[in-house]
C-alpha cells in the first residue's frame, strides 16, 4: 500500500468521516451492537492511518496527542486551508450563473 501524502490524507478523511457519522448515530442508539462494532473497527483503522501519516508528515494534533521531531513540526505548512491552487493574474475569475 503505497500512498502519497494527498492519497493518505484522503483515506484518513474517508475513514474519519465514517467514524464521525457512526459516532453521531451511536449517541442516540447506544445499544446498537453492529454500529458499535463498526465504530471500533474503523477507529482502529483510523488510528493506524494517522500514525502512518504522522510518522511521515508530522503531527495532525498537538497538546500531547502526537510527538514531534526537531524542529517543532506543528507549525509546518500546509495548514488545512492552504492548497496549491493560486489565482493567476492573467486568469479570468469565475462568474455567477446569472452572468
Amino acid at each position: 500500500m503505497d500512498m502519497n501524502r494527498e492519497q493518505l490524507m484522503r483515506r484518513i478523511q474517508e475513514v474519519e468521516f465514517a467514524v464521525i457519522d457512526i459516532n453521531l448515530y451511536l449517541d442516540t442508539h447506544p445499544t446498537h451492537q453492529q454500529a458499535l462494532m463498526d465504530y471500533n473497527k474503523l477507529t482502529q483503522e483510523l488510528m493506524n492511518l494517522k500514525m502512518m501519516y504522522e510518522r511521515q508528515y508530522g503531527p495532525l494534533t498537538n497538546f500531547g496527542y502526537a510527538p514531534s521531531q526537531y524542529p517543532w513540526q506543528w507549525i509546518e505548512s500546509p495548514w488545512p486551508w492552504e492548497d496549491e491552487y493560486t489565482c493567476k493574474e492573467d486568469m479570468p475569475c469565475g462568474f455567477m450563473k446569472r452572468n
Binding site: 478523511q13 448515530y25 488545512p80 455567477m96
Partner: protein, 190 residues
C-alpha cells in the same frame, strides 16, 4: 477541552477565483443559519440538557459544525486568494474588501456581522431541540440556494457534502428530541 486536527473534514478543491461567489458563500460563515451559529447554538445548549444522549449529540454536532465552519472559511479564502484589486472592484465582494481585505470575517452575504441573537438557549430542552431541527432545515435550504447559484464544480462538491450533513444532523436531533420527551414523560414532568 477541544483538540484541533490539522486537516479538513472533507477536501475543498476550488477551481478558479470567484469573488462574487465568495461574497455569497460567506453567508454560511457568519449568517443566521451558518456554521458558526450552528456550532455555538449546540455547544451553548449543552449545560442543562437532561439526558446523556442529548448532551452527547449537542457536543458532537457542535464540534462537527466547527469543522464545517473551517471548510466554509477555506472556500471563501481560496475563491479570493491573492486577488488583485482589479478583480474585486465592481463585484459583490468589494464591500467586504474595504473593511476586511482578504481576511475572512463572520458576516452574512448582506454584510451584517455575526451576532449571538441568531440562536437561543431557552431553558427548555424541548424548545431547544426544536430550534435545532429548524436550524438544520434552514441550513439545508441555504446550501441548496448556494448550490443553485454556483458554477464551480469543486465548490459545489463541498457544498453538497455540507448539505447532506444538515440532513443527518436533523435526523439525530429528532431522535434526541424523542429521547428527551420520553424521559420527561417518565418523570411526569408536569
Amino acid at each position: 477541552m477541544w483538540i484541533y486536527e490539522k486537516k479538513l473534514e472533507y477536501p475543498v478543491k476550488v477551481s478558479t477565483c470567484n469573488p462574487s461567489l465568495a461574497a455569497m458563500i460567506i453567508e454560511q460563515f457568519g449568517g443566521a443559519d451558518g456554521e458558526l451559529a450552528a456550532s455555538l447554538r449546540y455547544l451553548t445548549q449543552r449545560w442543562a440538557m437532561p439526558t446523556n444522549q442529548a448532551k452527547a449529540i449537542l457536543t458532537d454536532i457542535g464540534t462537527e459544525e466547527l469543522a464545517h465552519w473551517e471548510m466554509i472559511g477555506t472556500i471563501v479564502y481560496q475563491l479570493t486568494k491573492d486577488l488583485p484589486e482589479s478583480k474585486i472592484v465592481g463585484t459583490p465582494f468589494e464591500a467586504h474588501y474595504v473593511n476586511h481585505g482578504l481576511d475572512v470575517y463572520p458576516h452574512n452575504a448582506a454584510g451584517v456581522p455575526f451576532t449571538a441573537t441568531y440562536f437561543n438557549a431557552k431553558g427548555d430542552p424541548i424548545a431547544n431541540l426544536h430550534e435545532n431541527m429548524a436550524a438544520e432545515q434552514k441550513a439545508r435550504a441555504t446550501y441548496e440556494h448556494l448550490i443553485s447559484i454556483s458554477d464551480d464544480p469543486g465548490v459545489i462538491d463541498a457544498l453538497r457534502f455540507l448539505r447532506q450533513r444538515e440532513v443527518v444532523h436533523f435526523q439525530r436531533f429528532g431522535e434526541a428530541l424523542r429521547i428527551v420527551q420520553e424521559y420527561q414523560d417518565s418523570k411526569k414532568f408536569f
